[in-house]
Symmetry: D2
Subunit: 284 residues, 4 copies
């Protein structure tokens, strides 16, 4: 049996759900998941649908053509149709922090993540031994203000060479270039170690400590040109006490970063996220 996932968004109109579900009926699909969301203020409709194709005579490519012609044109839809069995390819960008890298590679090795990791890219060589330990190709691409242009070229060449679908910045401490952002729009996931929009930028744990907050957080978001301002995918928090030092904040924060980033990766890889107006729709 073949499973497909369809993501749709368009202006909200009468009859969309009926039209889509009638179409699935026509191609002999059995709907196993359907969820929709309407942004009433902006009059935008979003839908996520999973179905099993029950009859061999309908193949995915012909369904795509048919869907475009018989539905999408009429409703002026933006849509994607994914074959669930094709795992997306994820590039990992890292610098020197190892906790998120260990966590992701551990989950990956344990078969918990529905994706492939064809390569790891880093501006430092420090974490190469970890990549080696998990047998993932590791590419050292020096990257800083001075060699940005050369670094960007290498990044893009590598991403194309490995046919990468999306990028995860696992505490990668460099600014992503606008060109790379535009090539991977809403496909670069960052983990920021604060409860955004509180404490954007550098050293958020130090700022949180200074402010005397009782709760710290971590935020996973898509990268946009505005630093730490992109659409939020997932957030979580943990309590802190007056007795905790900055080191305690950092240690507790690492657990948050791991969990929040891995949830965001899973949501993206399962095609459960849609982006609009700098916000996300997250299907559960």
């Amino acid at each position: 049996m073949r499973n497909i996932t369809i993501l749709i968004h368009c202006e909200d109109q009468k009859g969309i759900i009926a039209a889509v579900t009638n179409f699935i009926l026509k191609v002999e699909g059995n709907i196993t998941y359907i969820d929709q969301h309407v942004d009433v203020d902006q009059n935008v409709f979003f839908m996520r649908l999973e179905c099993e194709l029950m009859n061999e005579r309908w193949n995915v490519e012909s369904i795509k053509v048919d869907f475009q012609e018989s539905i999408a044109n009429d409703f002026k839809m933006s849509w994607q149709l994914y074959n669930k069995d094709q795992k997306p390819k994820m590039a990992l960008f890292v610098s020197k922090y190892e906790h998120c890298l260990f966590d992701i590679l551990g989950r990956y090795s344990a078969g918990e993540l529905p994706l492939e990791i064809p390569l790891i890219i880093s501006n430092h060589e420090d974490l190469k031994p970890i990549a080696d330990r998990f047998n993932i190709p590791f590419h050292h691409v020096p990257f800083n203000k001075e060699n940005k242009i050369e670094g960007e070229k290498q990044h893009i060449a590598l991403l194309q060479q490995y046919d990468v679908d999306f990028i995860v910045l696992a505490r990668y401490m460099q600014i992503i270039t606008p060109q790379l952002i535009s090539l991977y729009k809403n496909k670069i996931i960052n983990i920021h170690h604060s409860f955004l929009p509180a404490f954007p930028g550098a050293k958020p744990y130090h700022s949180a400590f200074k402010r005397g907050v009782k709760i710290i957080g971590a935020t996973s978001h898509y990268v946009t040109e505005e630093l730490d301002e992109g659409p939020i995918i997932e957030q979580d928090i943990t309590r802190v006490l007056h007795s905790h030092s900055i080191e305690d904040f950092i240690m507790k924060g690492k657990d948050l970063e791991r969990i929040v980033l891995s949830r965001a990766i899973r949501l993206h890889a399962e095609r459960k996220t849609m982006v609009y107006s700098n916000k996300t729709v997250i299907f559960s």
Copy 2:
């Protein structure tokens, strides 16, 4: 504009969603909410749908008749259709604990609950002054093992007199009779002061303290004949420390009971709950 809510459940079959959404299209309804759930193991389909009726010529009663004939018969559906503007009537049963009563009446007076409270019933007179303060009729119905039958008669008479839709036991410390349960099947909501199925029955905070748990909880569920075994609507928890006494557990637990019960009341009153196999589907 008139708003309706439809709840459906039936055996899972191809084409249900298409049929229902086509029907809504026919009666010129604008779907503002649709969610469905399929229990794959048991092959049961559940749907909740809200829509605005855009055209005056479709009235609710004729829609009901039409829905039964053109859809529900074919799919052998169980279904309810509610006019959203008709608030359900809730009877409150209390004994001597006042914290949930104060919380519910405070929310009710502040206009936070989409329901009406026509009466409060109690086996004691202790809380009458609170009912008076909020101007809610208070009925004292003595109830214990000895006068069960007489008490039950009075309960049923009062519930019928006030045209009650559902019952909330706000720390009412008596066993509900099987007859009343069968009259209000899946319409009696209890709050139990533990994280069920841990610590059913009496004195759960004492048991939790003795066991040395690090987290305590509260559980709201529909009442069935098996004590504390009914379908769970909502649960929540809070952390406890070794330094907390049983009195601290009880105090912290009161906050949980208030929150969990009020969430369950809201979910039920907004018709966001469906029951099957001693479990609930909770639409968000």
Copy 3:
């Protein structure tokens, strides 16, 4: 038996704990709670101690004199000693929002709060019926930019008349004057409806909605001259979904505001808070 609570802070020095516990031994006190905190960076020591006085011949006033002479002078301590049986008096300031008021008065009536509420002050008359319902004196003091000076005079006169120990702003929508803040330093508690420092100022739920956060919060803090910048006493959060409207945020936020404010009130009334460097030490 008499119970006392002692709060101490001073420069960190060797021997403080030994000196204090020796003193308690001398006055035949039985320590039932002791906790301390050292801010290592700033070299400040904090302690909270509860004890039962076992021997009638030691009275609270003579203990105070003795403590000052035999301990506090040597260590240059700031300290307070409270008789636990004397409940602090709390003034409630409200405007038009009723949810926190109902919650506090419900808890107060149920005997859950270790304090007295001698009066409610408001710049509007809307909530007077609620105060009446709970038999609390309600004083209408019009307050806005124009009549600030006159209003402040009335506030201070009322607070003195009722011998008020601390003030709670239960969604009171006015700026507190610097004079009142200085009279009640670290004794005015506000509830802000966001997870500070995110979304200070007006309409935080609207800002949170626009930013697309996945978690909203509430923050209770002591009022200082910098708006929403005072020492944080307590924070909590709840999850939100893309499907939630601003109205849903507000409704869920009300639950947070109630809980967070009532926890902060209890902490303050039980003398479990100490303030320094715009932060709080919260003893558990």
Copy 4:
């Protein structure tokens, strides 16, 4: 500078804190942490204290002798004094589940855990490649009902050979023998995949699914002869929805198991746990 940690428990008596802090003063220690707990019902006193030894002339061994003679004898204390720089040695027992193993080894490699892992013991060979990847000696000790006695002998020999201080069962699916339990009393940590005491024993996620709970949990506890009945060290929970399958429960549960077990390991390794009456005191 040398740092020591002292854990004390004894019958509650007047003057303990004064005596202990006077002693620390005498040996020129600077207290950096002190916390105490009194179980009022059982009249038991607990204390945890950290200090820096400021003067070279006091060595740890002579302090121990002095403490026993000048304090512990008088108060009939049970006590331990640890040199903070000596990391405890932890043996890992695993079977076939790899998620907790990956998580612990990742944290260990990243330097997050204040302990040493000299060996991994398993009743299967499946996870040997992971141990190899992290360069930890892996010992395959077949263990089941038939070869229990032989297996136990090997376990004990290995634990002695590697000088193991405590044992962690990282989803080790075998019953620990009473002899091993008595050798490592309150030193064997298990992770159970439910919110105990709900759902003890096998297949707790299946039971939770069947019961229709809205929250699932994980519990880390010391192993005693009563299965899943030992003193609880740490618990945590996560929400589940009606739309989640058993597989979803298991996946979400894995995150809980990882987090809860790693917190318990850290607490034990930092000597922040004390056990009595089948409960734990957890110092923060």
